[in-house]
Amino acid sequence: MSPHIAVVLFPGSNCELDVVRSIEHLGGTAEIVFHSETNLRGADAVVIPGGFAHGDYLRTGAIARFSPIMEAVAAHARAGGPVVGICNGFQILTEAGLLPGALQKNAGLRFLCDVVDVRVVSTRSALTCSAERDAVLRIPINHFEGNYTCDAATLERLRAEDRVVMRYVDNPNGSLDDIAAICNESGNVVGLMPHPERASEAILGSDDGVVLLRSLLDAATQGVRLPG
């Protein structure tokens, strides 16, 4: 059975079709689940795609967090199921408390639309379980609030528990400790600012995102390797 991925659509999401296509391109199946729904229809993994959910009103991710589907997403995460938030999806996962910290405005105070190098730091996550540690991937970014921040104790924990998943090679947005992606304690919930779905076929300029999406499909099929 090919893994089935639920892609959550909020009013204002805009990367959901890219995610669906890239997953289908890799042999998975994907379906869009609207934010007002209450179950994930048996999906093996969830992707919260990028965009501007609920217009980013109040704060990025602040309103999306209360959408009915988020209870199902949290339950899926608690049960160990893979959940990946890309860009705005990362912001939503922090607002929902499924990942620690917050994404503040970029240090340069500019919206960034670029292609950057990110280094895989940990392979103990649903997004990197089939990648190689220290691999450098060329992946697009597209955000204003991508500057990860958290308190010193949280950063200490993220480092000690191998939860910094990817770091920017050349930090574009001022993110704390060059963080581009983090995960929860058990590695099944991951948030990242870069867009792997936009680097999923050579014709897009890079297919370096494939190893990340492949990891997600592998995690969806086999479950995430736990620390140990």
Partner: protein
């Protein structure tokens, strides 16, 4: 009783404020060269029906923690005043 709550949400020190930074660059262009430390936040007003001021404040604090502010990057201040309806 009805109370008007004014909630001021501001960035915690150290959190970047592009709007404040832009305005701080614009004011000297108008000749105001003695201005610094501009921070732009949000002002939220709402009316709550509660038995007393303390109850109203407790509820608005809870709203701030749960939705109106993100404690990781934002601070908030609450001001509560009793609403006196017209003609009474």
């Amino acid at each position: 009783m009805k109370f008007e709550a004014r909630v001021e949400v501001s960035h915690l020190p150290g959190v970047l404020d592009p709007q404040g930074a832009t305005v701080e660059r614009a004011l000297p262009a108008l000749g105001y060269r003695n201005v610094s430390a501009i921070r732009i936040g949000k002002s939220i007003r709402l009316v709550v029906d509660a038995p007393d001021e303390a109850a109203a404040r407790t509820q608005v604090e809870e709203m701030c923690e749960r939705l109106l502010a993100n404690p990781v990057i934002e601070a908030y201040a609450i001001e509560i005043t009793e609403l006196v309806e017209n003609g009474r």
